[in-house]
């Protein structure tokens, strides 16, 4: 490949999950109690997308990373004080609500418009990243809608790994049921990747990177366009806050030198990547790269870990 990727990551802020989250009906619609006062973090799945983007850009010369964030400007600025230290990116800020009660359709429209307006963005090299769902809304549809609006039909959901191969193709591992991955190969960008946790740890803060990023981030915040996104016309019958105890269970397994055990039942006893039961093939989005797209050759994710949902 002669030129690098143009990676756009969509991600905004959500209340710090350790805070007390109490849904309330306010004069302006539904929201969380003291929402504006709660400390916020970058939406966790989107954060993984950002770290993966920064990592990929570092590995691939001539790549660029943008973070497109729709959120209240002042709060975004606060968020940047930590995020801008972790990875190098350019911010595209849109000033509006980041509430979990906004309508995904409206949010996707705003994000797509913001991306279309990015100067110097080469859409043929575009990798559109985001989280598989937002921690405050958990709808899991925004990225697909942004992709559709931008005319990107290659879409991968709950991605844990994206590998840029020397022939320019991209190999993607998506989480599917039963602790398995669907492996797909795509000819190249553009594509949409809605990330799960990915494989990278949270990068440490480095104020030196932060100071460099801030030179461009402050002007980006200053010129952020104000938009109205809300929940007008939406009626919430019930709202549930995430349970404190999540169901995710990480099971460490002894690393085996033998090839991964394969259970004929496909019950999830395998670790790593495994052949998919045929029912899963309907979730394939990638068709361009021919028969090799369902990759069953390479070893699993290594690390000897499997996750269970």
């Amino acid at each position: 490949m002669t030129s690098g990727f143009h990676i756009v990551v969509c991600g905004s802020l959500v209340p710090d999950p350790l805070q007390t989250l109490e849904p309330v009906q306010g004069p302006g619609g539904p929201g969380l109690k003291n929402e504006m006062m709660l400390p916020s973090v970058l939406d966790p799945w989107a954060a993984h997308a950002l770290y993966e983007a920064a990592h990929l850009a570092k590995q691939t010369p001539d790549s660029r990373v943008w973070l497109v964030s729709l959120g209240p400007k002042a709060r975004l600025q606060q968020l940047m004080m930590s995020i801008a230290q972790k990875a190098a990116f350019q911010l595209v800020a849109v000033d509006g609500s980041a509430s979990g009660f906004t309508d995904c359709y409206d949010v996707a429209a705003v994000l797509a418009e913001a991306i279309e307006g990015i100067e110097g963005l080469d859409r043929s090299r575009l990798l559109l990243f985001g989280g598989r769902s937002s921690a405050s809304r958990d709808a899991g549809v925004t990225m697909q809608m942004v992709g559709e609006r931008l005319g990107i039909s290659e879409q991968f959901l709950a991605v844990d790994k994206l590998e840029a191969r020397s022939d320019g193709s991209l190999r993607v591992l998506e989480r599917v049921e039963g602790g398995r991955y669907l492996a797909s190969v795509c000819d190249g960008p553009p594509l949409v990747c809605a990330w799960s946790t990915g494989e990278l740890p949270e990068p440490p803060n480095n104020p030196q990177i932060g100071m460099q990023n801030m030179r461009a981030i402050m002007p980006a915040l200053q010129k952020a366009r104000t938009v109205q996104v809300g929940a007008a016309g939406t009626d919430y019958r019930s709202v549930e806050v995430p349970r404190q105890r999540r169901d995710t269970r990480v099971v460490k397994m002894r690393r085996s030198t033998k090839s991964p055990a394969r259970s004929s039942s496909g019950s999830g006893a395998e670790h790593g990547e495994s052949p998919l039961p045929s029912t899963h093939t309907r979730r394939r989005h990638v068709t361009q790269s021919g028969p090799g797209s369902l990759d069953r050759r390479s070893p699993g994710l290594g690390g000897g870990e499997r996750w269970e949902l």
């Binding site: 007390t20 006062m37 803060n205």
Partner: protein
Amino acid sequence: MSTGKAAVEKGPTLSTLPGDDVRQIMWRFAERYDLQMLVQSARAVARGPVARLVADGARNTHEWTPEKAALLNAFDEAGITAVFLEPEHGGFIEGPKNLALALAALELAWVDGGAATGAMAGHLGLAPIHEKGTPEQSELYMKRSAPVQPGEKREQWRGAFALTEPIPYVGVDTGVLNGKVTVKEWKGGEEPILHVEKRGRFITNMAFANFVAAAVDTGDERIKSSCMVILEEGDPGTYDRGTPTKKLVHQLSSTNDPIFSLDVPASRIIGGYTIKDGVIVPNYSHGEIIDSVFKRTRVTVGLMTAAKLLSAVEPVIRYQRGRFRGGESDQPGTPRHDLGLQQKEDALHRLVDIWATGEAGASLGFWAARVFDELDPMDHRRPEIFAKYDIPEGRRALRAMAEWTERAVEYVRLAAKPAADRDQARFQELEGNELVQYLVTDALANVLCPAVKLWNTGHGANMMREAVSLMGGYGITEDCPGFLPQKWMDAQLEATYEGPEAVQRRQLSVTMTNAIFLAQFEEWIREMRRVAGMRPGSGACTLASAMELWLWTLRHLLEAKDAAGNPLYKGHRQGVTFPLADALCWLLASRSQITDMIELEERGPQNPSLSEGLAGFLRFFTDLCHVQAASAAGEVSRVCSSLVFGYNAHPSWKTDAGNVYDARELVVLENVMPGLCSCAVDALDEDLGAPLKRGPCVRFDGYEPFNLRRGKLDGCLTGSRLAKDNAARMLTEVMIPESLDYPQ
């Protein structure tokens, strides 16, 4: 005086615990992105690797373990090591760094004081070089200490600071050094080789430091004075790191008792030297260097203790609220379920006091850090500034300084007036005068530094005990959330190292009588009255009255004598000077707390994120200011009264009974002036026998100005308990996170 019944009104309340938006405004770094980032990165280290170490029991060993050593890398990665460095040496913060260091220390000590100390001790090792080192020394050691960047191939150096020696030598009194420097070899025309003998006690970072800034006295007539020298691992001789100190506190930092017997070139004398008549004359004595180092680093220590108190609020509230949940009769929605121990007034009131102390300590510490940021550039140019105005160094400076002191006081007075009411031309002239600016800032810094170190750590340690007690038995277990018992104990070290409380009190007793400082203090009294006019519930009037009482007492004591005719305000009379120094700290802390609250009030509306909660924060902080001002007033009253009257001889029946009525006289006088009997405090009985007591009661002749001020101050406490009630109520309403953001 109106004592009308004032109900505790309902109004805006505290919605959440104050977050970054609030703190950035109050502590004045809302415009500093470099500092905001530093806060985030230090916080991530504190609540991540540091907290995990503490929770895993890493504090239970004195040894310097690989796990503890890994923290150094975490500090490097997070930019904490580089905070102290100039950008050309690998740092990222331009200009003075006191506020930056203070913020980093606060974040780390929020979880563990030892981690904070470990991070700061590297800076302490470099500080003598930073303050007084030659350009070559700065270049070399600063660059070596910068974290290694990707692609760089070099070892990163870490420093230590060795002043304290084994008993009976230097500790609190930095004068009596046993460590010695002598000339080992001095060939004509070549640089002398020195020999250094130094033993250290309680030296932080010593398990791994590659270089040490060591204080030594001259042990050779060819060396003029004491100095500080840089010792390197690898210098010929002994560089023995010694045994680890068996600390009960701060176990995440390394402390050892090292032994050095090394040969070093004379170029290692910090700040360089000249040769005069065959004698090496160090450009700076060890005392001069240490003064300029501790002046800055002590502020950071004070903030560590303030962090502990503020960090205690959330775990205490959570414990109190959940105290009775889960029991058989527990019913969600009942006060017992929702509030738990918060139903009890005393539990709330004590937490209000803890929080108020934490606020005041943080405000005082950050004020001091900002003042040092202002002072630093001037201080580093001090020799040039003094030369420009023909001020000699040393004792002869005193006389030359007198007229400049007057000008500095004049500037302080003019600066406090509105522009329209002052001689603007004169004001601008003085404002543009570097020497005047230096003197004003220096006078303030010389008070603030010991005040922060003394009050924040000493009183802070006492209040940490209160915090621990609010957690009941849990409070004295390793499982206590927020590591509160460890923090209580750690606070005691913070009160001790870098000069214990006695050293700070001694310094204050000198610097607080400086005319330029006192002029500023007088202006603050007026300022607080003005504040009170606009913000009646803030306790500013209470504080102003307490400040007046303190100032009157100081001026009185400077002139007064004790019963035996000996002057009271003297260096050796620590019973006089020390309590007065303590009392001053309460006042300064309270003032800084009020000014930070005003800053939030004035600048908070500019931050849209705060629009929802600002009114509640202001209400709560205003009440906390009032509570703290009342506590300060109480301390000041107690101290001043005991000093003003405590050194007088009590009147006795033998010598002072002349003015006492006798019973028969009183009967006659009562007929002429009915009611007189009830006014007579003392009366002899019919046989002229004295009542059974110490002597006639004390008369206040000459003390009317004191009594007036003291009486007024008592009255000024009006409303302060209502403020406490109000703050306590808000503690029951504030929303706290579901759980602490660091492990237990």
